[in-house]
């Protein structure tokens, strides 16, 4: 009697499981149109600030493309681009990007916007770097006082910039005080805040997270600290599977007057100042002047 009831329960369960399987596999499969999708490989900073959440829906509505935003470190974004695994890139590591341009992996590279990197640290400032004009000097003081420093450690644009500053100083950081997070910008800032450590961050991500952090801006304004974003298409002549029209549409979209206007006001309502400065059509050499 009991056994019969259990087996009927199990039968019902089995039938309902199978029908769920059929239903879900159907709807899951029907969700992926092949030609309309554009894969955008970008940095964590554009995603973590929420800028792309504002821009992507406008682009999709305007053009009918479906954007797959893959937010990774700039190193990975560039690697995806150089393998033809993405259609369009939005990155902030100019010298690495130029290598891809020279190798013919990407084309149509255009300046979009900039903000700047800043050195943030605990309000107590144990290394005494507050107000220094040179980022390299500040790094030098942090290293010589062995104050904790959290590095992105993920080959991102920010990490590349950090290595550039260490390189200028001629020091290769090493020791217990130098913490390699291997994480995105948001998480790296959290770690620095928890460990009362210094770190190098883009201003946008810092401003958008400031309320959750116990970190202050200590060094800013050095020319080496400019953070410049370019958008570029993966070369369709080299990679035949790339969605070239979609990528081109996205590049044109990012440098269009409408988007540049949105970028210039993005974040003002929330943080009192914009997170990025629009630069379409300008020369890189003129930035920060």
């Amino acid at each position: 009697m009991h056994a019969a009831r259990t087996s009927s329960v199990l039968n019902t369960l089995f039938v309902s499981l199978v029908s769920i399987l059929l239903l879900t596999s159907f709807s899951v499969g029907a969700q992926a149109p092949a030609v309309r999708e554009v894969i955008l490989a970008t940095t964590t900073s554009t995603a973590d600030t929420g800028l792309l959440d504002v821009l992507i829906p406008i682009f999709e509505q305007q053009t009918g493309y479906l954007v797959k935003t893959i937010a990774v470190g700039t190193g990975q974004a560039l690697a995806l681009g150089s393998r033809g695994e993405a259609d369009v890139l939005l990155c902030h590591a100019p010298s690495s990007e130029l290598e891809l341009v020279e190798a013919g992996d990407v084309v149509n590279r255009q300046l979009v916007m900039h903000n700047d990197f800043i050195i943030v640290g605990p309000p107590g400032d144990p290394a005494g770097v507050r107000g220094l004009k040179s980022a390299a000097d500040a790094f030098g003081k942090i290293a010589s006082s062995q104050s904790s420093f959290v590095s992105r450690g993920d080959d991102s644009g920010t990490h590349k910039k950090e290595k550039e500053v260490w390189g200028k100083l001629g020091v290769s950081p090493d020791g217990d005080w130098y913490i390699e997070a291997g994480a995105g910008m948001g998480r790296t800032l959290s770690i620095a805040s928890e460990k009362e450590a210094y770190t190098l961050t883009d201003r946008g991500t810092y401003l958008s997270l400031r309320n959750t952090l116990d970190l202050e801006i200590l060094v800013e304004g050095d020319a080496i600290l400019l953070n410049i974003y370019h958008v570029m298409q993966v070369n369709p002549e080299k990679f035949d599977k790339v969605n070239a029209p979609g990528a081109q549409a996205f590049v044109e979209f990012m440098v269009s007057p409408k988007v540049q206007e949105i970028i210039s006001t993005f974040g003002v309502d929330k943080y009192g100042s914009p997170l990025f400065f629009p630069d379409a059509g300008k020369n890189v050499e003129d930035l920060g002047k």
């Binding site: 259990t6 899951v28 894969i39």
Partner: protein, 233 residues
């Protein structure tokens, strides 16, 4: 402390107001992990049964392979599935990367060894005497297998619970093969991780509570079935 209160309050309001984005993320989570669990069930139970009953050369090797697979790191699965599904990878023409289907494939590979392994040990534990007895009563081989599977149903339900739990809780593979694309491949684990990196700890806590709620409901339902099954034997 205030963060925890904020998170719980936020979770409460997100659920009460029926936030569409959270609802969509939760639904996709259920679809992807549910489908992956069902596929692993469809493959894992027969496979586990065969491995428990059949005697062939290399059976122990296969069994150890499956037991090792039970601890397969999701990020390793994610990497390999990504490489296979890349545009210029062996299965690139299918255009599956960054789709829910890719996530189902990855989660199936993660849950399958667990379902197979637990089924195998569940059936293997049954008294050898039953088999002799049933066969001597004139049952066909198929009837024997069906009977053994029924006898091991408690263990098989445990396999379902464990398989679903692993699929729904993993993040490494979903992040890699899904890409956490909003509205398309964002599930509860990847959304939670993203909200943490954006500093929205309240929303992250809310999402984590939704995830734990879903796991609890489904596990409770399955456990209920399991315990009912037990009382009737």
């Amino acid at each position: 402390m205030d963060l925890i209160v904020e998170g719980i309050t936020r979770a409460f309001w997100l659920l009460v107001k029926g936030d569409r984005e959270v609802f969509r993320i939760a639904l996709l989570t259920l679809k992807v992990s549910g489908t992956a669990t069902l596929i692993s069930l469809a493959i894992g139970v027969p496979l586990g049964t065969v491995l428990a009953l059949a005697r062939f050369r290399g059976r122990t090797a296969v069994a150890s392979l499956i037991n090792t697979g039970m601890g397969l790191p999701p990020v390793v699965v994610g990497l390999w599935v990504s490489i296979m599904l890349w545009r210029y990878g062996p299965l690139g023409h299918l255009r599956l990367l960054y789709t829910p289907t890719a996530m189902v494939i990855a989660q199936t590979l993660i849950a399958l060894p667990i379902v197979t392994g637990l089924t195998m040990s569940g059936i293997g534990q049954l008294d050898e005497g039953i088999r002799v007895q049933v066969l001597s009563l004139g049952a066909t081989r198929l009837q024997l297998v069906w009977l053994l599977v029924r006898e091991a149903r408690l263990a098989i339900l445990a396999a379902v619970i464990a398989g679903f739990g692993r699929a729904v809780s993993e993040i490494g593979a979903s992040m890699m093969v899904g890409g956490n694309v909003v509205g398309q491949t964002r599930v509860l684990t990847t959304a939670t991780s993203m909200e943490v990196s954006r500093g929205n700890f309240g929303t992250a806590i809310a999402l984590s509570l939704v995830l734990m709620g879903i796991s609890l409901c489904i596990t409770a339902f399955l456990t209920h079935l399991q315990q009912k099954g037990r009382s009737s034997t």
